[in-house]
């Protein structure tokens, strides 16, 4: 959670940061950005690297990122023609906050899974007791 500031909006669903945090927390945005970190890539190159994403969803995700100024879309002339997507400085600047969150997750994933298993065992035991 954000640090405990005087800013009361952080407690409200209409905090202006919500739409932005919602997008970068969606299913694919973070991974699309990750794919573009090493170098710009073409549409189908991104799609191949993100096994499981559909064309429709990749298009939607790229459009939202472009609209936010995090990705730049460039039509390539030449043969074969194509479209290239690249990180903007704004998009690249997201790398650090995401890395902090990702590293936190990696550091605590084992502890979290142990908690989950313990919680689930308890739930099973409670259900048994109530029989």
């Amino acid at each position: 959670m954000p640090r405990d500031t005087e800013d009361e909006r952080i407690y409200r669903a209409d905090c202006p940061t919500r739409p932005i945090l919602d997008q970068i927390g969606d299913k694919w945005s973070m991974m699309v950005l990750a794919v573009l970190v090493p170098a710009p890539r073409r549409f189908n190159a991104i799609k191949r690297q993100l096994e499981g994403i559909t064309q429709r969803v990749l298009t939607q995700t790229l459009r939202k990122l472009e609209r936010n100024g995090m990705v730049r879309r460039r039509v390539l002339g030449g043969s074969p023609p194509g479209v290239e997507y690249a990180l903007t400085p704004l998009g690249r600047s997201l790398q650090e906050p995401f890395a902090v969150l990702y590293d936190w997750t990696l550091a605590h994933i084992d502890a979290i899974q142990k908690h989950q298993e313990a919680y689930d065992r308890e739930a099973v035991a409670a259900a048994r007791d109530s029989d």
Copy 2:
């Protein structure tokens, strides 16, 4: 996005960090944790502070946080009886990664909104051109 590691899983929807990131990215988890930073609180105290959340959703959110070991639930004896929720050390340790992300958003929200407006103006202009 996570930094560019050798770990190929970061590109995959089945990366083991997904379920955790999905939860802490859900609509209310972050705000519930934020409310608990200054001090433990009772169910209805949390609910009052998060205007707009329903009882059902608050219960679900707290159960998931408890299951992950981020929040501890304590039944208070005495009169009136009640239930108190408190951050665990694990839950509190999320404060920093979240603050980094939140600060990034605050720092760039103006730039992002300008990009969005420019993008939307372009879309309107393109629609007009195609008439």
